[in-house]
Symmetry: C2
Subunit: 206 residues, 2 copies
DNA sequence: TCACTTTTTGACCAATTGGTAAATACACGA
DNA sequence: TCGTGTATTTACCAATTGGTCAAAAAGTGA
């Protein structure tokens, strides 16, 4: 058994663990945890099932590893929103970062969505311990901006929900978007539209 | 075997089919098609597994029945948007109807989301055949309103996407919303926020 | 009440699934 | 080149899963 805690993982270990996680992301993001099978992951990774279980203790550990990996970057765009920056540009830049993230990591977005839809059995503790404080902090920052008259006053919580939902939509509902946009690429239009949506809402009315 | 096509279904048939669909909606909406089991559905319905298969030919038929049932009402709010109505109120009323729907039918919303995330294996034909034409038609209506100067000009397609995503978010991500709103009920605030969001965007700048 | 239909159940199956164990093949430093 | 730990595979298991079937039970109308 490889023990990632002690000893350096070998080149093969590094490569195969990455291979497995990549394949598992493909499978879990589409079928969810219960709907995915080790055989699917094995085939997608080009490894045998027992070989996969040589690198991970079980299906659940693969899933948890992916979620932990995701949690490290998922909140970055929000973390980067700077209380000392220019309010409106700061918020619009946050929207843009979330949109870029949905574009660059659609599988991760769907993995997250699936986890939440199923009741967040693995991530609920994380949501309460990490997301909630960050959410409250950033809501307070936004509220401060609004109190200072730098932004039009709206409920910061629903503002953030709407930023999450509108941006992630392009990843989570990509199939539907694809059908409706036909050959058109949704990407450029979404940028401009969301910019207009949120700057119209937040630009203070003098 | 009951044959719903011919003969009136008995009182027992009506009751048990409804019982099964209700239970299946609970289970499918949380675990998705592949992740749900007949045993779970049977237990939730309070019936034995073979008894369930007496009313439905198989797991898939239950799922398809639910999706078909959903498709009948899912697009209603958009259908009701009247080209002859007052543009801005008409659109805001659509937002409200979608929001009400997310509140009244959160399981159906999650069932739909799960189906799309997994690549819409069952609903893709429906999306292309029914949703696409409706979408195009309503986009044209909105575009007409904008051309007439009744609404601020934005891409109608992304406008509709944002209406869908913001409203459905309260159903699909209810767990997350619950954690972040704490004891607060999200409902009243969401109404006001989304009203402000879309009326600010769409009110024409004279 | 009785015959007949509908509904329900218990026992069962074959396929799939997550996982194991032992044997084998491989990589790599001495 | 050889020996030793690493990687991989082959052959399995036990549990779960979707589904079947015939018999029993419960309705139902005359």
């Amino acid at each position: 058994m490889p023990d990632p805690q002690e000893k350096k993982p070998s080149r093969i270990q590094l490569r195969n663990r990455a291979l497995i996680l990549e394949a598992a992301l493909d499978v879990f993001s589409v079928h969810g945890f219960r709907g995915a099978t080790l055989d699917q992951i094995a085939e997608a990774a080009g490894l045998s099932k027992p070989n996969i279980l040589y690198y991970f203790a079980g299906k659940e550990e693969i899933h948890v590893t992916l979620l932990n990996q995701l949690m490290e970057t998922w909140l970055d765009p929000l973390v980067e929103m700077d209380a000392n920056g220019d309010p409106l540009p700061e918020l619009l830049a946050y929207v843009q970062r979330k949109l870029d993230m949905a574009r660059d990591m659609p599988r991760e977005s769907r993995l997250f969505a699936g986890e939440i839809i199923t009741g967040a059995p693995h991530m609920l503790p994380h949501l309460k311990a990490d997301l909630k404080p960050l959410f409250d902090e950033k809501c307070a920052v936004i509220q401060g901006w609004m109190d200072a008259g730098k932004l039009a006053p709206v409920d910061p919580r629903h503002l953030i929900f709407s930023i999450w939902s509108t941006t992630q939509h392009y990843a989570d509902f990509a199939v539907q978007v694809g059908v409706l946009m036909q050959s058109d690429d949704a990407a450029p239009g979404a940028d401009a539209y969301l910019h207009a949506l949120f700057s119209n809402l937040l630009t203070p009315k003098t």
